[in-house]
Symmetry: C2
Subunit: 405 residues, 2 copies
């Protein structure tokens, strides 16, 4: 199931971006598994990649190619992560770039490869070889939704969003897609996400925008605390609008940043709303901390606690488990006698113990909702952080126990 | 279910220790929930307590009393943790010490209180008041098994062990009991464990022995990464043997340490063998690390990974998930190209990728066992650490979703 997640249905075209997606045979049952995103010449490209030390072959190559050349094509397959595949995985990823470059007529360094799916299986290069010519012939600007479908693995619905803003009386479009629902605790980037805009903006400023927005979106979610070997997030700006270039000093910058933040936060949250086995969408805010890092550490400690997550699944207002999780967070200091905890608007803990005004009925009322906000007030400083997570259900275990069978 | 866990049936008496256990009404259905462990005068006592910042009232008082006086009584209840109960929890815990001291005829500072069970409910002091006189009259040296039963919460069997060693041609007895099967990632101590010996040994040396042994036993296990607010481990030495005092320089010291380590490791492992929802008992050894801390961090990262744990539940040799967990461990450096991973004797990863000799059939053979050893060779140094853990099953979710209902 999903929690208040709308399946993407219409995603607006972005001038300068063409896409195609098809079933190449990597996945069984004629399922879409190969996606091409073609980028117009002169576009800016920013990307962040997984911080897991075991980076899949395509991640290593994508980062290298990006440093060498201006990308013209993102080549994405689902069904096989090409991770833990050693030398041959590296060769295979490079081979798919060469194949795509040949068909498209660009350099292999202008192709960035991305893979997601099962770890440790050899990539089926022949599926690429067979499908690429037809896919290239199908490139079109209205295929965002097909692309969103093509990058799915355990996702139950395609995830995407479009925002339009006005700069210089011109409409600027931002369209993004994402995939992911398990092995989610991104560190610098989510599973896979591709966002494009027709704004004019330099690659340097675009990178800065991406890094800032990633911190408060994809790097603020968790399903199970597991960081994937393949996480990647790419932000493209084709510059094909008639509006002036966005600079840090220009009036449009904050408008653009706000829209980008909204797109990325919605995509990040959509990954949680589709988390494996989810029955509750949970927002955890830690406020009045000494630092942002402290706040985020406490929020993640609560978000990762299996006991908190199973209590959420059971709609059980077991605030003692939240308190115990806060108490083991690895930060320098917690004033246990000052801490308050709220479930939505219900104060469950004050001064470090059960709130005098708390009743089980009030806690139960909140817990019965499918969206729950947990607020932890450390009463020590003025920094805050928010993370989004899911509960831990039978279905999470089922999905992950049966993933390869 | 449990994995190769033998229910404690006979536990040997320790000279100088008398015990009693009964149903005081804290738990429903006339279940044993109150345990007394009386300690002879002149005994040495060492203890370690939870490092969770939210320490339950009894933990705070036990530590304070231990610093003020030589304990004569451990007063332990199950069914209510007296945690998150604020000022009134503190007063109630103190009150139970006073009640027990009155009946036994000692100072209240000589009573150490311990509680385990639901967090955030007020302790039922009247149950103590009503039951203490009869329990004190029943104190006897052969009641270890009853005590082991009396401290249980979600445990399915009582846990205990006796070891006898010879020092100076005298038999020295070490008997220990423990409880715990969820909210287990002890930090300095497990849920609750009480170990006694008739050896003569100073309180200082006993504390040193306890701290060393705890590191390689209770502080090397995890079920769910959650550290309880009530974890406590107490080691008593009554000195009632006729053997000479054990000193660091004496021949008997290493014999004693080895036996103690064995008792504590067996108790710690028995908590995992009875872990909530367990179907696999898993030993994770990280070897050839730069430091013991690095080794332990990697081992715990793998042990806590929900994706590794669900793969273990499914008997799925999904080595990619182990690799991905190692890759996100928070240590300074990992040489990804040198790492090897073994499932029992089967090499699954070499030089950071799937081993050439590996077959799914070989991996499957190991995964079908109920006891599995995972060895991760970092090939960087000469330090190693071992932790023990369980898998993540439907029943873990079920037990923790239904705990309070």
């Amino acid at each position: 199931m999903t929690v208040n997640l709308n399946e993407a249905t219409h995603l607006a075209a972005v001038k300068g971006i063409r896409l195609a997606a098809g079933a190449s045979g990597i996945k069984k049952n004629n399922t879409i598994d190969l996606v091409l995103i073609e980028i117009s010449e002169g576009a800016s490209c920013a990307a962040v990649f997984t911080q897991n030390r075991f980076r899949a072959a395509p991640v290593i190559i994508a980062e290298q190619h990006l440093s060498e050349s201006s990308p013209r094509l993102l080549l994405i397959n689902s069904g096989n992560a090409n991770a833990g595949t050693g030398e041959s995985g590296y060769r295979n990823a490079l081979l798919t770039c060469e194949l795509a470059a040949d068909v498209l007529g660009c350099k292999k360094q202008q192709v960035l490869p991305f893979s997601t799916g099962v770890i440790g299986e050899n990539l089926q290069v022949d599926c690429f070889e067979k499908s690429l010519p037809e896919l290239v012939s199908q490139l079109g600007s209205d295929n965002w939704l097909m692309a969103a479908k093509g990058i799915m693995t355990t996702d139950t619905v395609p995830k995407g969003i479009t925002r339009e803003i006005q700069i210089d009386e011109e409409t600027i479009t931002i369209t993004g897609i994402a995939k992911g629902s398990g092995m989610i605790k991104p560190n610098m980037a989510t599973m896979l996400s591709y966002i494009a805009t027709d704004a004019k903006i330099s690659a340097d400023l675009l990178t800065e925008c991406l890094k800032t927005s990633v911190e408060y979106s994809f790097n603020s979610i968790t399903v199970d605390g597991d960081t994937s070997t393949n996480d990647s997030c790419v932000l493209l700006a084709t510059g094909q609008t008639d509006a002036a270039e966005i600079k840090k000093s220009s009036a449009g910058f904050s408008v653009f940043m706000q829209a980008l933040a909204e797109v990325m936060q919605t995509l990040a949250q959509s990954i949680i709303r589709d988390a494996e086995g989810i029955t509750k969408f949970v927002e955890i805010t830690v406020c009045n901390a000494v630092s942002y890092d402290d706040a985020k550490t406490v929020a993640y400690t609560v978000a990762h606690s299996p006991l908190v997550k199973t209590a959420l699944f059971a709609s059980d207002p077991n605030w003692g488990r939240i308190l115990a999780a806060v108490g083991r967070a690895e930060i320098d200091k917690i004033e246990v006698d000052q801490l308050s905890i709220y479930l939505d608007d219900v104060c469950i803990v004050e001064e470090g113990a059960r709130a005098g005004s708390y009743t089980e009925a009030a806690g139960q009322r909140v817990m019965n909702e499918s969206e729950i906000k947990i607020t932890i007030d450390l009463a020590m400083g003025d920094c805050q952080a928010t993370v989004w997570t899911s509960d831990l259900s039978y279905d999470y275990v089922k999905i992950n126990a049966e993933y390869r069978s």
